[in-house]
Amino acid sequence: MQGGPEQETTTDERHSSRVAFEVNDARRELTLDNRTTLLDTLRERLGLIGAKKGCDHGQCGSCTVLLDGRRVKSCLILAVTLDGRSVVTVEGLAGPDELSPLQAAFVAHDAFQCGYCTPGQICSARGMLDEVARGWPSAVTGDLTAPAELTDAEIRERMAGNLCRCAAYPHIVAAVRETATTR
């Protein structure tokens, strides 16, 4: 129900703020309880259920979205801090008719089972590929001065913040690798 009607909200009006930010290229203006996380804003106010709540503590990565192009855990971000900023969720990755290459690769490689961590994996991979393109090293990068090379070990390390209890890890690595080499 992307772009669907906003849910009714009954919060503590003394502690609410007006916030305007972009979600998947659409401007959103909301009055939010100051305690509301970005994750709960997406899920409970905007009907964007793609970002998942796995732990609500930034430990599992299921809620990963892109904030101004960088991957973040949306459960750790208070939405009132987002005035003027831009959020992309998994719902914003696919075109109107076709999946993004990353999404298509996840399907083709069976890079998920239950699917609950999947939107977070995909957003995380999207952000990660951009980090590599910018030359950011990871903990397993050998030569910090050379251009970052996306080996399987690099993908595994860079995707380690997104847990998958079904353990689709090798297939996630394959999907990311394929996307990285064909884009």
Partner: protein, 699 residues
């Protein structure tokens, strides 16, 4: 007239929904006027609530109600006292849900839950499993209905007389299922009927439990579980979230979304019991087993008996004339343990397969050869031939693929820079069972078919597999078949568990499709001109009448590890499993299941450990930062293969089930590889750095 759909690799039917974020899980359905429930856990281990002060919570804007034993709607006592929630002041374990806050926002519910004041009279508690616990007793049976103890021959005499003897005790800690989607429910009451969108492994059993608790006819309860974010046994039947959500929705007369927090999943929804297992093996000088004994000690709660069938694995795995298995249990002030992927077989195989490796070392025989030498021609437990048994084929093919030949068994013989390298192997087996199910098949006038069954896809690929099976049974291209699952309004079927899902459900689906084809033969042109034709069947009679005999899937897992000589860090270089599991319906999803099981075995061997603090009567690691599960960086190379196995004595689809066998044996393969690398045998999981460093300087 198969169209060849079965056996062909196919992406998941719901793949597009899952990668675009449109697949709906339990608390993701749009609901008008929805409210939010937040569970409040008990802060003592054992005692009684003496006073509940809800006033501070109720004073918060947006808070609608605080439910507790003093005001909650009444439940009928069901078979599980753990579900008789908010009915009594008694507290049976720390973390038991004793109140629920309902509010119009998540934020208000969360804060109010913290403000509910509860006073307790607390008593002394016992929460630590010990081999000499005074409360140890012999349960009447073990999960699900196995005999508690078995004995053939004379173990004591056989053991005493043998030239080679091995006696070791293995321990496993509490494990937490930790599905990525928490237990979660959206509950709505309308005209005395209850609708729940719930995260579970079987809508029908949840429906039955809710009907019993709320004293409703089953038809008045509908349970929908279209997409489920994993379960691994923990969602095998109704758990606290669905009961609390239904109570709360009834109390406030509005729809309620209630998801347990991650922290609340560590205990109240079940976990794998810690185990203490003594295994004794006796063999002749050629390594032929003469006596086997497996004694298991596990825990249950004070409110419900769950006796994990830890030693059952040993009853049928390897042959020996003198055999004994026992299970002892103790009731502790803990949450009730429950199913977790391969209950019984998983911890049991860790102990037996480790012991086999130790025996191999003791007799100087290769561990693959030792297992082949002790293969059972008939089931040692029942004395009957197996429907099929390809353990040896799995071991041989695995050894070939892995490159096992010419392995030097000497510990610490291989070194690669700062790493000591070792390899290990284990066998595995898991029962191939089926239970009754119903399904319907409908032919439409447009040439399409609809197959309906209340199966559940918790990530196994069941939806896709059943669709493939249906296409073949109907003799039409799969594109003409639509499959509908995950709703108690559909023909009833059992839980997604025990590796019986596909076996049970495909049986009913094939039956319905065949019955439909018979019906269509009476229809001019073989298809309805308008309207539709439906056939519905139940397999209850066929499943009941199937003669009992030993039916098992088998596997062999191989692992290569490296261990840092300075830190003791263990890395798994590669894992390889070969399985004999009957027919494989969808190689794509089957491979994912097997790899997933093996990875959870890596997790068991190296990462997971519920650490109990007796002072608080609870595990101290209650989240995914402190309870470690295997992550992407931990899995380097992992392969699953299967052998071509035709077994005509299983079920119409010829499948054995693959959800669980991947984890069985894996931990033993890894600890044996660690022992090969370092010379240190870890008999209490997980393998931690300190166990390797403390026992033996590596460098």
């Amino acid at each position: 007239m198969s169209t060849g759909a079965v056996g062909r690799a196919h992406p998941r039917l719901e793949g597009r929904e899952k990668v675009t974020g449109t697949a709906r899980y339990a608390v993701e359905y749009p609901v008008d006027g929805v409210t939010y429930g937040w569970a409040v856990p008990a802060a003592v281990v054992r005692g009684r609530i003496t006073r509940v002060d809800a006033a501070p919570a109720l004073a918060l804007p947006g808070v609608l109600a605080v439910l507790h034993h003093g005001n909650a709607p009444r439940l009928a006592p069901g078979p599980d006292r753990g579900l008789w929630l908010l009915q009594e002041p008694a507290v049976h374990y720390r973390g038991q849900f004793v109140a629920v806050v309902v509010a119009t926002s998540l934020e208000a519910a969360r804060e109010a839950a913290r403000l509910v004041r509860i006073d307790y009279d607390a008593g002394p508690h016992s929460t630590v499993l010990a081999a000499d616990h005074p409360g140890l007793y012999r349960p009447d049976q073990v999960n699900p209905s196995y005999p508690t103890d078995t004995a053939e021959g004379d173990f004591d005499a056989g053991y005493a007389a043998a030239p080679v003897r091995m006696d070791a005790t293995y321990r496993t800690p509490a494990y937490h299922n930790s599905p990525m989607e928490p237990h979660a429910t959206t509950a709505q009451w309308r005209d005395g009927r209850l609708l729940v969108h719930d995260s579970n492994q079987g809508a029908a059993p949840v429906q039955a439990t809710l009907a019993e608790l709320f004293e409703l006819p089953r038809e008045a309860v509908r349970v929908v579980a279209e997409h489920v974010g994993g379960g691994f046994g923990s969602k095998g039947y109704a758990k606290a979230a669905v009961v609390l959500a239904a109570l709360a929705a009834r109390q406030v007369d509005r729809p309620v979304r209630l998801a347990l927090t991650r922290q609340q999943l560590f205990g109240p929804i079940g976990y794998r019991t810690p185990t203490i297992q003594r295994v004794r093996l006796a063999a002749d000088a050629d390594g032929r087993l003469t006596a086997i004994c497996h004694d298991s000690i596990t825990q249950t709660s004070t409110i419900r008996e769950f006796a994990e069938q830890v030693a059952v694995y040993t009853r049928s795995m390897y042959a020996a004339p003198h055999r004994r298995t026992t299970h002892r249990l103790v009731r502790l002030d803990v949450p009730t343990p429950f199913w977790m992927r391969a209950p019984g077989e998983c911890p049991g195989a860790y102990a037996l397969e480790s012991a086999m490796d130790e025996l191999a070392t003791a007799v100087g025989i290769d561990p693959v050869e030792l297992r082949i030498r002790n293969d059972a021609a008939v089931d040692p437990d029942l004395g009957q031939p197996f429907s099929s048994r390809n353990l040896v084929a799995c071991l041989r093919e695995g050894a070939e693929r892995f490159g096992w030949a010419d392995r030097d068994p000497t510990p610490r013989a291989r070194r690669d820079g700062r790493w000591l390298v070792g390899t290990g192997v284990a066998g595995s087996s898991y029962p191939a069972r089926a239970r009754a199910a119903a399904a319907s098949a409908t032919a439409r006038s447009d040439g399409g078919f609809l197959v309906r069954i209340d199966a559940t896809d918790i990530g196994t690929g069941a939806r896709t597999a059943l669709w493939q099976v249906a296409a073949d049974a109907l003799g039409v291209p799969p594109e003409r078949v639509e499959i509908r699952i995950g709703d108690s309004d559909l023909p009833p079927a059992g839980v997604a568990g025990g590796s019986m899902g596909t076996a049970s459900w495909s049986w009913a689906v094939i039956g319905a499709c065949e019955a439909l084809r018979v019906k269509l033969r009476q229809v001019p042109g073989g298809a309805p001109a308008d309207g539709e034709v439906t056939a519905e069947v139940s397999t209850a009679d066929e499943v009941r009448d199937q003669p009992e005999r030993p039916r098992y899937a088998y596997g062999a897992q191989f692992a290569e590890v490296r261990v840092d000589v300075d830190t003791g860090e263990v890395r798994v270089n590669r894992m390889l499993g070969v399985f004999a599991a009957g027919r494989v319906v969808n190689p794509t999803t089957a491979r994912s299941q097997l790899i997933g099981g093996m990875t959870m075995g890596i997790s068991m061997a190296l990462h997971e450990e519920g650490v109990l603090d007796e002072r608080y009567g609870d595990w101290v690691n209650h989240d995914l930062a402190t309870y470690h599960i295997t992550g992407c960086a931990d899995v380097e190379r992992i392969e699953a293969h299967w052998i071509d196995e035709q077994d005509g004595d299983l079920n119409p689809a010829g499948v054995k089930g693959i959800g669980e066998i991947g984890i069985v044996g894996t931990a033993a393969a890894i600890t044996s590889a660690v022992c090969h690398a370092t010379g240190v045998r870890v008999r209490d999981l997980p393998v931690r750095l300190d166990k390797l460093i403390a026992l033996s300087p590596l460098a």
